[in-house]
Amino acid sequence: MNRISSKIMRVNSVDVSGLSWQPSTAPRLLLDHINCRLEEGHFYGIIGPNGSGKTSLIRHLLALQSIQSGSIEIEGVPIGLFSKKQLARHFAYVAQKIPSNYSFTVFETVAMGLFARSRFFEAPSIQMIEQVNEALLATQTLQYKDLPFAVLSGGESQRVLLARALVQSAEWLFLDEPVSNLDVSHQVEMMEKLSSLRREKGKTVVCVLHDINLAARYCDSILMMKAGRLLYNGSTKEYLNREHLRDVFDISFAVLAHPVTSDIIYVPDYGPTTRND
């Protein structure tokens, strides 16, 4: 479609500048002059209270929402110049759920990730089927291969959707609250998986999180949002601290060392008790 965008083989950086967005029904800007640069090889965590614009930002980065003002450039090329297929070769989205009355099997679901790199009429080659099996293996979902996707549990279906994103072979993975519906052990399992994908496959991960401690443990870079604005943006070590957390969440946090692992953990101060005991 576009010469410049089709020449890009690998996306090293994404530049967001002055990105603002206010849908006609919203009373205020949902994104308010966001400026940031995302570079490959990082594990980005986006944190902030509900309605702070985390999902809106992700949707703009994936071109699911067209730009109202400001710009997003991939390797210097405006995101709007990429066709959906071109973009899908670089950016994969791990959806949180799938609509009801969905009746495809796990294998069929994962194989859908091949779409962006295949042509019309092309029957899936052995090599492609092999890729699907590899992704199922990598996410420990091979045993569910022939089951309907709809019967899987939350943790299992999240892993299958991750497998689908892996089949897409995009260098960047975008996730919107991937662990919010999972129990503690599945949360850790999912985050470990993402972490190992970054280490071993060189994937860049951009992930909306609600759990500050997961963000502190797994993300090397952090984007902290509030009311549509990007308040803090930088390395987790430097920027994730008590003051910044209080600014973003309006709640004070205690910083403790974990008694066993001595990792830093953040505990919110819940305020005076309202328990009736």
Binding site: L64, Y93, P99, N101, F104, T105, F120, V151, Q168
Partner: protein, 347 residues
């Protein structure tokens, strides 16, 4: 219960051929199937040298070639067109209850037909008589309105499209009722048209339908895999490389045109476009690469069976085919549904 798709396709195509032969043979005059084969072969170059039709009465040949064959082909093509557009609309609107009537196109056609019947239009064009022609124009006008309304803000909402269709459909149905009440003489004619029939089949109508179905297939089948992705949700499909908005507009446009053609030549035949895609999903799974072609074949088979019953059950009078489709199809569908519910395939 997912059979091998290729085997399934071959079996169903064979079944279609058998049904065509049986339908050609039955009627007021019974014609032997081997005579039918001879007559058909005598119309094909090269084969016409191999067979002799001398002993077959000329009247049989006329019945087969001029009366039954166009009617059967028309029924098959309409069954195919309605099932295909039903399957496509259920996919792009992501709604299992969507069918060819959901966007109000059938009502638009019926309104056109009612106006033509009431005013007694007699011109004819493209092989369509005044009524069918007016129905087609009515359907096209409705498509224009539906598309205009549902895509007005550039971005479509699924519920918006469905509601616009329902509103337009009710509006037109009321208008038809007004015409019927104000013009009592024509009431029965309008009502019978709306129930659907293939009794006005002609060679020109077959060609008209053939063009729409073939172009429809060419416009839809290459996009089957994108339709699969649509089932995972708009954001998800788009992030995998599908231009969701463009695909949805295109699919709605193409399937609407097919429905417009079907309804203009046959009246409103319900149930087929809703149920056939579900039947095919139950036997062949949800993948559109299988669902769409198999829906065409099964839709054609089903419609030919229904039309054959329509013209033979109460001969010499005819039962409207639209009344037969549901009587025949609903019990079978309920049986399939109950069976797959037991197996846990439907949740």
């Amino acid at each position: 219960m997912k059979s091998k798709p290729v085997v399934l396709a071959i079996l169903l195509t064979a079944l279609l051929a058998i049904m065509v032969a049986v339908a050609l043979s039955v009627g007021a005059v019974h014609v032997q199937i081997r005579d039918i084969i001879r007559i058909l072969m005598s119309y094909i170059p090269f084969f016409d040298q191999q067979v002799s039709t001398a002993y077959i009465p000329k009247s049989h040949e006329t019945i087969i070639m001029a009366i039954r064959l166009p009617r059967i082909l028309l029924a098959g093509l309409v069954g195919c067109g309605l099932s295909l557009s039903g399957a496509v609309l259920q996919g792009v609107l992501r709604n299992p209850l969507a069918d060819p009537q959901v966007l109000g196109i059938s009502s638009g056609a019926a309104f056109g037909a009612a106006v033509a019947i009431s005013f007694g239009f007699t011109y004819s064009a493209f092989g369509l008589g005044g009524i069918a022609g007016a129905a087609f124009v009515g359907a096209l006008a409705t498509i224009f309105c539906v598309l205009k309304i549902s895509f007005s803000e550039g971005k479509s909402s699924l519920i918006g499209i469905l509601l616009a269709g329902i509103a337009i459909s009710s509006l037109l149905t009321s208008a038809i009722t007004m015409i019927m009440v104000l013009d009592r003489e024509k009431l029965e004619k309008v009502y019978m048209w709306m129930l659907g029939s293939f009794s006005a089949a002609s060679e020109m109508r077959v060609i008209f339908m053939l063009i729409f179905v073939v172009l429809g297939l060419l416009a839809i089948l290459p996009l089957s895999r994108a339709l699969d992705l649509m089932m995972t949700g708009d954001d998800s499909a788009q992030s995998m490389g599908v231009d969701v908005e463009a695909l949805r507009k295109w699919m709605i446009l193409v399937s609407s045109l097919m429905v417009a053609a079907c309804v203009s030549v046959s009246g409103i035949i319900g149930f087929v476009g809703l149920i056939i895609p579900h039947v095919v999903r139950l036997i062949a799974g949800p993948r559109h690469t299988r669902l769409l072609p198999l829906s065409c074949v099964v839709g054609a088979i089903f419609m030919i069976i229904c039309d054959t019953l329509a013209r033979t059950m109460a001969a010499p009078s005819e039962i409207p085919v639209g009344a037969i489709t549901a009587i025949l199809g609903a019990p079978y569908f309920l049986f399939l549904l109950a069976r797959s519910a037991r197996k846990g395939a439907i949740r």
